[in-house]
């Protein structure tokens, strides 16, 4: 069953048509990736899907509900959480307080202690630095915090926008490993990446976005073997 369906999504920036009517879906339990070059419209797609930027046209169905017009802050409550591009953790808050904000949408506070302990278990670095101001964390730690913060909201669908951006190769491997793990533990994942090789390797399915249009789709394996993808995104 499709957990997320996006139909004919269009987004404009002024007169520029950034997204020209794309459709895709994410099924329960999958890891789905949107790959594409800089400026292809990946982040725009992610942000308009959750209502952070307005849609010109299209329809978004999540978990059976039409959320096309639902305001951004309510979407988390339905079970769709996004780790935004550039992580955007709250620099002035501590690691702990960032995680507290991650749990903002959870009305029942009784599980908070358990949730935060399980985040600390998954990301031991965050446990060590729980009282540190988040702005002083390294890039890798900030990415861990952004993912931990998102998990605090118990998402059914976790959306990650360029989680590998700006990280060392070792950390990139670690981040993809964690994404795989989170998915194994029962969370559906929608990933946006420039790192096509690594993301296709962990994806069930993927879409290729070019100039605001989906030009190719298939399983992760199919796409990583496609000549077109190899040429444009895998360096040969």
């Amino acid at each position: 069953m499709a957990l997320l369906e996006v139909h004919d999504l269009e987004v404009n920036y002024g007169v520029i048509r950034a997204i020209k009517g794309i459709s895709f879906e994410v099924n329960e339990g999958e890891i789905v990736t949107l790959i594409g070059a800089n400026g292809a419209g990946k982040t725009t797609t992610m942000q308009s899907t959750v209502g952070l930027i307005p849609k010109k046209a299209g329809k978004v169905i999540f978990d059976g509900n039409d959320i096309t017009k639902v305001p951004c802050h309510k979407i988390v409550h339905l079970g769709m959480t996004q780790v935004p591009e550039g992580r955007r953790i709250f620099q002035e808050l501590t690691v702990y307080e960032n995680l507290l904000m991650g749990a903002y949408s959870i009305k029942d506070k009784s599980g908070f202690k358990n949730d935060i302990e399980s985040v600390y278990e998954r990301f031991p670095r965050l446990a060590e630095r729980r009282n540190q101001i988040a702005g002083t964390l390294s890039g890798g730690e900030q990415q861990m915090l952004a993912m931990g913060r998102a998990i605090m909201s118990h998402p059914k669908l976790l959306m990650l926008d360029e989680p590998s951006m700006g990280l060392s190769p070792l950390l990139v491997d670690q981040v993809f490993e964690i994404i795989k793990q989170i998915n194994k533990d029962g969370t559906t994942v929608l990933l946006v990446e420039q790192n096509a090789g690594k993301s296709l390797a962990i994806s069930d399915r993927a879409y290729v976005l070019e100039n605001g249009e989906i030009v190719l789709s298939g399983t992760g394996k199919e796409l990583s073997e496609s000549e077109m993808v190899k040429k444009a995104y895998l360096g040969g």
């Binding site: 952070l52 802050h73 959480t81 996004q82 935004p84 955007r88 507290l100 904000m101 903002y104 909201s153």
Partner: protein, 298 residues
């Protein structure tokens, strides 16, 4: 004796005047930090509080009843007014150019002053019931009103700091002021946080109005203009967006004002001196004392 009197009076009066500025400045700085707008109608909220208090204590009720009632009433009216202004004047302009919002704020300020003039006329409204008297400290007369202001200021500062630092809503306010988009992605309702900010700012403005009115119980429609501008200056000196900065800037400005007023040669230039400090601070440290340089986010 004279030195002691000078020092004591600067401490008591400077701190209490500074406390009033600080309470108003907190409203400016919180609204700027969270809603990203300069609410120039904020000073006029003080005027509304002052009229409310004077009208209430001038009724035939005994002062023991009317005074607490007037404080409560001024807070309620100011909070409702502040929230209404935000909903009617500022909320429709979210996303509009900062200039449009600024002009609207100035318009709201004039509107409130004009309404006050229509209701109360241009002659100052006064009361004799709020003279709280004075006592002698080391032979120096100290007004009770200054002590009350000091107590209120300390309570407000401690309470607000605890609220912002310890409560979930307080932390959410910091989160919204830092990154509105990311805050929304966490499920934080930005509109609600902005409303809470206006509630707190307006309540503090009401308290500042009370503290001003026990100091000098006479109100006109422009009662809040000068304190408003001074408090805005204090907020910028302290670093606009920073709550501790607003407190620091307010207290500093109050003390400077008090010292300048005590020295006969420069007393006429007190206002000029205060605004010159703003210019100097902006030249030397444009972010103010405790302000942070923020990356502009896209």
């Amino acid at each position: 004796m004279e030195v002691l009197e000078f020092i004591l009076s600067v401490i008591v009066n400077g701190l209490s005047q500074g406390g009033i500025y600080a309470m108003i400045a907190i409203g400016y700085t919180m609204v700027y930090g969270i809603a990203k707008l300069l609410n120039f109608a904020h000073g006029d909220i003080i005027m509304v509080a002052a009229y409310t208090i004077i009208v209430t204590v001038n009724t035939s009720m005994p002062i023991g009843v009317s005074l607490p009632l007037s404080i409560l009433l001024s807070i309620v009216i100011c909070v409702l007014l502040g929230v209404a202004i935000e909903k009617v004047a500022y909320k429709p302009l979210r996303g509009a150019s900062p200039l449009a919002v600024l002009i609207t704020a100035i318009g709201v300020s004039y509107l409130l002053q004009s309404i006050a003039q229509i209701i109360f006329g241009t002659a100052p409204k006064m009361t004799a019931k709020l003279d709280l008297g004075a006592f002698k400290l080391f032979g120096v007369p100290v007004k009770f009103s200054a002590i009350i202001t000091l107590v209120i200021t300390v309570l407000v500062m401690v309470g607000l700091t605890m609220f912002v630092k310890k409560s979930r809503t307080g932390r959410a306010m910091v989160a919204v002021s830092e990154d509105r988009g990311a805050a929304q992605l966490m499920g934080i309702n930005v509109n609600k946080i902005i409303t809470i900010t206006f509630i707190i700012g307006s309540a503090l403005a009401a308290l500042a109005g009370f503290c001003s009115i026990i100091e000098a119980p006479s109100v006109t429609s422009t009662f809040g203009s000068m304190p408003g501008i001074k408090a805005f200056t204090a907020a910028v000196i302290g670093g606009i967006g920073s709550i501790p900065g607003a407190m620091l800037g307010g207290i500093m400005l109050g003390i400077v004002e008090c010292i300048a007023n005590k020295i006969p040669v420069i007393a006429p230039y007190t206002d000029a001196i205060e605004f010159s400090i703003l210019i100097i601070i902006l030249l030397v440290k444009p972010t103010g004392f405790l302000g942070k340089k923020r990356r502009e986010k896209v």
